[in-house]
Symmetry: C3
Subunit: 142 residues, 3 copies
Amino acid sequence: MIGMRSHQGRIEARTPGRGFTNVTDAVERVVAESGIQTGLCTIFLRHTSASLVIQENADPAVLADLEQWLAELAPESRSWAHDDEGPDDMPAHARSVLTKTSETIPIVQGRLALGTWQAIYLWEHRRRPHRRELVVQVCGSA
Amino acid sequence: MIGMRSHQGRIEARTPGRGFTNVTDAVERVVAESGIQTGLCTIFLRHTSASLVIQENADPAVLADLEQWLAELAPESRSWAHDDEGPDDMPAHARSVLTKTSETIPIVQGRLALGTWQAIYLWEHRRRPHRRELVVQVCGSA
Amino acid sequence: MIGMRSHQGRIEARTPGRGFTNVTDAVERVVAESGIQTGLCTIFLRHTSASLVIQENADPAVLADLEQWLAELAPESRSWAHDDEGPDDMPAHARSVLTKTSETIPIVQGRLALGTWQAIYLWEHRRRPHRRELVVQVCGSA
């Protein structure tokens, strides 16, 4: 396939504190704007105390379980040297290390090639609400 | 380098239950089909209870150790709210959070630029065999 | 945007043993060489006992905390079957599973679209110094 092009978009998300915000539809809108039918879409998060993850879109109990379990792997109760912004500061960095700063998804027939049960989530790791910025880069052919 | 193009392929893998399936050769075949000499290859897995990982291709004991250790980080014995499909259901989601839904590898002289000791594995996290679908997107120049 | 092209570079890093090496400037130099203004940059590490991570660039205590905490998740004291190269061998593989072999970052106006507090680190997981090789693939339009 010849005639590649690229398109860039931005998404601003306001998170309600710790937990998941589904950004799949917002990303699909950038893909649709691009007019690209076959290619790649990369979503990049410009922060180190939140992250991205592709997970099940059906049962909310999956997300609740993941939230509790990740809090156990990077506990607030651990003694952290860096705690300038409170007890959830360093666990947020640790949680983002275990998850993703970017996700890359192929585009097939103008849409993200996600499986039936997959959604893209912005995972907030701080206790308080935050404004988070994502860059979406689409490249491929029309 | 001017004259970019893209190529898309699919891989279907049948896993034997928990453990690793080496998909490196299958991915290299899609790269070879594409005719692309310099560029990028993205492998995307369309599931949330299996994942991708790039790991050592030499000693099988490495993979056995990783399997046991990951089972300790996301134990079946933990009390999970979501257990519709059995005790391995939610640990499978947790294990996929800690690993990758996609991997992206540069292409140099028509081949994946993997290091000497690297292979691409599909990591099944469910106890029973599954049919898993991967999309491979190659872009670059011939 | 029409007229895509790609550019490939390599970075060789000498690590001082366990810990973080900031490779952001070296990656920015490859992006600048490419002349690409809008697109994507992928950094790929050709090893399985070191990894990549995007983390905070400000307080060194964040990196020290991450180092200690990751050592707890993949402890040398655990009984590992694969220990050919010493007690830090298998923990290094486990640590690389939890982090990244590649990172992909959009390019905006000829620069990496990193957030204010983000840097790209090569994370060495072996105790002894190593020579590590990265491939940087840039694609987009000038």
